[in-house]
Amino acid sequence: MATQQDTYDYTLRLADNCLILGQRLAEWCGHGPVLEQDIALTNISLDLIGQARNYYQYAAELTGSKKSEDDIAFLRNDREYKNLLLVEQPNIDFGYTIIRQYFFDVFHFHLLNELATSQDKTLAGIAQKSQKEVTYHKRWSGQWVFRLGDGTDESHERTQAALDHFWPYAFESVIPDTLDKNMTQYGIGADLSKIEEIVKKEITNHLREATLTLPTETWNQTGGKNGLHSEHLGYLLAEMQHLQRAYPGAEW
């Protein structure tokens, strides 16, 4: 059976993905390419941070302590964040942001499908509540992959560059590690081996339809799930945590 610690660790991964990607998207707010898409980016950020809160609240419960969602979200060090490397990568431009988002959305969508039937009722509940939002995210980013991939020469080129850049980060999500496998066995975690093929197929078909060239590289950057991050995360956290760190114990 899953220990409380297992479930806590697993929940943190879910939470951190949502928070860190939400944080990256929040950087766009006020700087989007057109007002409607500025709103859309912020909307997805809001959804993800909302979902993150649900997970963190559950994680806080699981600690059995007085820890709050904010204590967990803000007061860990860099090595204790368990998000995928993909979601912490910088925005760079709208094309990079879309490719990053699309990779995450496809995974996220199928992950939640699995999680929705988790034997952990809380996680199943959060997953179910999130499905509608994430369906929308996937549709939005997927549409933009089409528009950018099959838009102008410039947009095609930029989006291809983004695709090549993020390709090694695309599938860390579906490579199970020990915790993933154990949580699957306990009937709590999503079975990544079940969704791996679906995710890869959906992504590759979609990219082809968007007239993009699939990179031939097969190597995956991994480590995020176990707190081995890129150098980008530290800066993101320094910024995100600044007030919590500078005014310890204050209520906001």
Binding site: C29, L35, D38, I39, T42, R147, L148, D150, G151, A250
Partner: protein
């Protein structure tokens, strides 16, 4: 109808408090005044995203981060309503944006001040949105229909933002001494710019009379300013922080607060472009627009390709 009849009909509607609608005849200057005012208002919403946007990634709790994101997003939405309202007057959004980006169009000067601490998120909600509401509630009864209806939606959300801002201030004022000092500091910095938001004194506001006659404006700058001050002083008292105006005191006779004289030199300097952040705000908007050009082009090109395919 001839011009005289059209003018009469226009006047009749104004007198009867009926709305002027896009297809109705209206005097050229009425249209121009509205375009200027609505587009300035829209630009203010868009530029207004920047100072608060500055704290989104540093919001000190998840709850506050979500609320702040939603608020800045609402401002983008207000921008959209207002650009749409403006378009009903026969001017395209692109043209309006062009005016903003080249510095030809104005936006509210308040957004040329920097947000230096988290407390500014409170102060902006409480004071800046508070002043905005004071200005905007009467606009819900503006004679031009699309503007009036946009303002109904805007005002509903703004008053939510204002409460949210006040609540941030309240939390800080009930917090640690450092937090309360942060709140006081924010009030010190935002007070005067906020009361300048109502514009010059009536004597120096030549357009006011015409706008009131057209029922675009319903109150003068000084009337609105006084209302705002009367409403805000008791709120500061509840917070337990001090408005930075030694001349501020209740006047038993007028039943209003008297207040010190406003530094109009600062006001005009900022309007003219010499505020702490004028250049940065405009640069940020231009950068977003320029960096977005290829995205907008791609979306157009893709839609065109799809259209051709469907047509073929």
């Amino acid at each position: 109808m001839n011009t005289i009849d059209l003018e009469k009909e226009f006047q009749r509607k104004l007198d009867a408090e009926e709305k002027i609608e896009p297809k109705d005849w209206m005097p050229d200057d009425y249209r121009k005044t509205l375009i200027r005012q609505i587009s300035q208002h829209a630009h203010s919403e868009i530029v207004g995203m920047l100072p608060e946007g500055n704290w989104l990634t540093r919001a000190p709790s998840l709850r506050r981060k979500v609320a702040a994101l939603a608020k800045v997003q609402d401002e983008a939405g207000h921008g959209l309503y207002l650009y749409s309202a403006c378009e009903t007057l026969g001017v395209e959004r692109d043209e309006l944006l062009e005016q903003l980006h080249t510095g030809k169009a104005k936006y509210s000067s308040i957004f040329n001040y920097p947000t230096l601490t988290w407390a500014d998120m409170g102060a902006i909600g409480w004071l800046v949105d508070g002043a905005a509401i004071m200005n905007q509630v009467p606009l819900c009864r503006c004679s031009y229909g699309p503007y009036a209806r946009a303002m109904v939606r805007v005002c509903k959300e703004e008053s939510f933002h204002q409460r949210q801002g006040y609540e941030i201030m309240l939390t800080l004022c009930n917090g640690t001494p450092e937090q309360k000092a942060m709140a006081q500091d924010a009030l010190n910095r935002w007070w005067w710019p906020s009361i300048m938001m109502f514009g010059p004194n009536d004597a120096d506001s030549p357009h006011t009379a015409q706008s009131m006659q057209w029922k675009i404006k319903r109150f003068t700058n000084d009337e609105l300013r006084q209302r705002f001050i009367d409403a805000t002083v008791p709120q500061a008292d509840i917070l337990g922080i001090k408005i930075p105006d030694p001349d501020l005191k209740w006047n038993e006779e007028t039943k209003h607060y008297d207040f010190g004289s406003i530094d109009w030199d600062e006001f005009w300097a900022v309007v003219k472009g010499n505020g702490p952040c004028n250049k940065e705000r405009l640069a940020a908007r231009n950068k977003a627009h320029d960096n977005g050009a290829w995205v907008r082009e791609a979306a157009l090109a893709y839609t065109e390709k799809k259209r051709k395919k469907t047509a073929a």
